[in-house]
């Protein structure tokens, strides 16, 4: 039992714990919307790709409405590209290094959550703060 606890401590670094929490938040978000819960890794990836697309679509709507500047939209686009690259890497890694793939997925999800918060603030009329 003591060995198991020690092993868990080695595996559950702060980064890994945050990654697990980010994935749980993604799954919980789907449940709250009445969506079927993503189970397989590709389904979790698909949910995250959809989140990247939502970030871009929301940014386009806000830019068209004049609620964010072109420079801010450019920054969000660049961060969305980063998240997308992380998801693509996770997809590539899933067959060879599943742990690394999960970490990439969780990191991208964390970035997307931050971007969605920025966009939600702008939708609500909060004009302070730069894109993350």
């Amino acid at each position: 039992m003591r060995g198991l606890t020690r092993n868990l401590r080695q595996v559950l670094t702060p980064a890994t714990s945050y990654a697990i929490l980010a994935i749980l938040a993604l799954v919980a978000g789907c449940q709250s919307l009445g969506l079927p819960t993503p189970q397989g890794f590709n389904e979790k990836l698909a949910a995250s790709y959809s989140a990247v697309t939502s970030v871009r679509d929301t940014t386009l709507a806000l830019l068209t409405a004049g609620q964010i500047t072109k420079d801010e939209a450019k920054q969000v686009q660049a961060r969305a590209d980063e998240a997308r690259a992380g998801l693509d890497a996770a997809s590539t890694l899933k067959g060879s290094d599943f742990g690394a793939a999960e970490t990439r997925l969780a990191t991208a999800t964390q970035l997307l959550t931050t971007l969605q918060k920025f966009l939600a603030d702008r939708r609500s009329g909060v004009t302070t703060g730069a894109p993350p």
Binding site: L33, L35, P36, E43, A46, Y49, S50, S54, R56, D81
Partner: protein, 60 residues
């Protein structure tokens, strides 16, 4: 926030959620617990198209 902007954003979110839900439901109906790589590719393609639309607005 103007109502038409709110509705536009809401529709975009519902569309994304609907596409994802339909893909997962289709997989379950076929007895699978995950999407195929081909199905996953369609989500990448949708994001590619979204990226191009946003970039055109930024450049325009």
């Amino acid at each position: 926030m103007k109502a038409d902007l709110a509705i536009q954003i809401l529709l975009a979110l519902i569309n994304q959620a609907g596409v994802l839900g339909a893909a997962i439901n289709k997989a379950r109906a076929e007895g699978r617990d995950d999407l195929t790589d081909e199905e996953l590719q369609s989500f990448r393609d949708a994001d590619d198209a979204s990226r191009l639309r946003l970039q055109a607005a930024i450049d325009g």
